[in-house]
């Protein structure tokens, strides 16, 4: 199929059936991707699996990424599936160091979906595309029987132009590098959970969904050469994203608990439900690993831009414990934070 018959396609994924956990963004998802999809589909076996893929077309390098959006409820405080669908893909490209240039979208609609709702979502997408400055150049629609699609599922695929002077690779991460977080975590996941009204819980929270491209462009302008790696902590939260980095670079990510910004209401909801904010999905934040000599410049650049005021350095890279994420509390006690194992909050994004 891909011409390289010498490639061994050994499927190491042993689970007998697919479960919700396989879509949760944590360990099970990773097992599925690494054990089934990658051996059979990925051409470059040695490159770490990132959000985006790089393609050479003639002289140009293009980045391409895709994401599907499966959310219940469709609308929630702060946004809707339409916002997530556009911002999610533009952000994926941005954290891969690329400016989104065009997008296509596919819609899987459930029989019985009120047109008014569909129109609302399409309008939301149009607005988000306008804010991001990205044109939609194509799309597809399918309809499935009642009961088969939670209203609607949206998939967006975007292509982007790499930003100059940015070279992102987890293998370039070094001990001493700083870890930067763009803002408070947990808002999106908890908002969705509360919006389901299954739990008698109420709080003034809204999803943090937004396009982070302008923030990343600003940061790149001041600190481009020093940025080693970026990612948006969506499903599985900051803990999962940083654990993936730790595994990919073979080093330790050490975080200071008191530096991690978490809104009071997110803390409260997590305490009440026994959840860890580090495992909750975000839709408008990003993490960056920056060389120490560029860290202050990166931070200052963000602080000077609307939406970047809350950016903060939350930790640093160390050699030990290898491939792990450690969080240290103010009083000195520390704990290892692992990737999300199960799926505590299904259909978050």
């Amino acid at each position: 199929m891909n011409g390289s018959s010498a490639v061994q396609s050994t499927v190491s994924f042993r689970d007998a059936q697919i479960e919700m956990a396989h879509g949760a963004g944590g360990k099970a998802s990773r097992r599925l991707v690494e054990g089934l999809f990658a051996p059979l589909l990925y051409a470059d076996r040695n490159a770490p699996l990132g959000d985006s893929g790089s393609v050479q077309i003639g002289d140009a390098t293009v980045l391409i990424t895709t994401d599907s959006f499966v959310v219940r409820p469709l609308t929630f405080p702060g946004g809707s599936i339409g916002d997530l669908a556009v911002n999610g893909t533009v952000n994926d490209l941005a954290v891969s160091g690329a400016r989104a240039q065009a997008m296509v979208a596919t819609f899987v609609l459930e029989e019985g979906l009120p047109t008014s709702i569909l129109e609302q979502e399409v309008r939301a997408m149009a607005r988000a595309l306008d804010v991001a400055g990205v044109p939609l150049v194509g799309g597809d629609t399918k309809v499935v029987e009642r009961g088969k699609a939670d209203g609607m599922y949206v998939t967006t695929t975007g292509i982007g132009e790499p930003m100059p002077f940015v070279h992102l690779d987890p293998r370039s991460v070094r001990a001493g590098d700083k870890v930067l977080l763009s803002g408070p975590i947990g808002d999106h996941g908890i908002t969705i959970l509360l919006a389901r009204n299954e739990l008698d819980l109420e709080a003034d929270l809204c999803s943090d969904t937004r396009c982070v491209l302008p923030l990343i462009e600003t940061m790149v302008e001041s600190a481009g050469p020093g940025i080693r790696w970026m990612r948006d902590p969506t499903r599985g939260g900051v803990a999962t994203t940083l654990n993936e980095l730790a595994r990919d670079c073979g080093l330790a990510i050490a975080l200071n608990e008191e530096e991690i910004p978490i809104r009071m209401e997110v803390r409260g909801a997590c305490e009440l439900l026994g959840l860890d904010p580090l495992h909750i999905a975000n839709e408008g934040q990003f993490l960056a690993v920056v060389a120490p000599e560029y860290a202050t410049a990166a931070l200052n650049a963000l602080h000077g831009v609307e939406g970047g005021e809350a950016a903060v350095l939350i930790g640093e890279v160390r050699t030990e414990p290898a491939c792990a994420v450690v969080v240290t509390a103010r009083y000195g006690g520390s704990r290892i934070v692992d990737m999300l194992v199960g799926d505590s909050l299904p259909r978050i994004c």
Binding site: Q17, I18, E19, M20, A21, K27, A28, R31, E198, L199, A252, M264, R267, G268, E271, L273, G274, T319, E320, P321, A322, C323, A324, V326, T328, A329, R330, Y331, G332, G333, S334, R335, I336, V337, D338, V341, G342, S344
Partner: protein, 377 residues
Amino acid sequence: MQYVDEFRDPELIRKASDEIHRLADAGRHYRIMEVCGGHTHAIYRFGLKDLLPENIDLIHGPGCPVCVLPMGRIDDGLAVAKGEGMIFAAFGDMMRVPGTSGSPLEHKAKGTDVRIVYSPADALQLARKNPEKHVMFFAIGFETTAPSTALTLMRAKSEGIGNFSVFCNHVTIVPAIRAILDSPDMRLDGFIGPGHVSTVIGCRPYEWIARNERKPVVTSGFEPLDLLQSIVMLLRQLHAGEARVENQYKRVVAWEGNTAALKVMAQVFQLRPYFEWRGLGFISQSALKIREEFAEWDAEQRFPIPGTRVTDPKAAQCGEVLKGVLKPSQCKLFGKECTPEHPIGALMVSTEGSCAAYYSYEHRKSTAMVASIASVA
């Protein structure tokens, strides 16, 4: 957050840690058991072991209701849930616990209607909202949770909600502690007593430990300062050669417990003559059964229960870890065949299980500790 942040004050934590270091007799090795799963979780979550001297060993006890539930009971519950029009409702903790033919979540993937609830009241609400289905609440927990299940059953009865039942696996904490103390391999100096169970049963039920076994018991809260203060109180008693029950968690635990909660429990439940505990075997008078007056809401009366009995895989040493005889890392399967992703035993699945806590928070830290000590030298 009030009543939380103050008990995480770094200055006070340092003071408490210093006091513990000062009190701990260098020539002595202290073995203190924390019974309650919530305490196990808190100790790891707050990295409290980093704040204690080397000669204090915290041994994890069997107070994790998921961990002590025999696999056969999960099989039985899932067998009932497979029936037409059934909804299986349970706390999140139960969802990934393996039965012989899979965990509740795995059954969900195969078509069984499995729902996570955060309260027995949620399960009753599911019944109200789904009149054409039957909701079976798979109840687990010690005396902390039992009153809530009891009250829910009372409400179901008074409202005449016929499509609701409870599969009751509630157990009581004192027989578990007795089983630990009766175990010949156990040497313990004192106990960090259960926190939330004590809000219901009070502190009196632990007096026999101090009186007959001559071991101090300090019922403790769950914040870092609570646990550290409790250890200070235990060390002071041990120094003075005392053995008393003390209540560190006064702001929440009354010596007499919660009379209303105890009353409600007595109205709805009675003690089973005996019950099987995973890892500890059969213990008499250690579990709750729903009374005859509530038979209509007792899943064991309404549905045929297979009565499955499953023996744990020989290699899994859940029982010894549960009793505190072995540390999680000493079980042959730990970290290899048995991980949070592929749990063999319940101690690896439950968030309060010592194996899961140790695996998630601790075992890869050992490299870090060695490295940082080396660099100071």
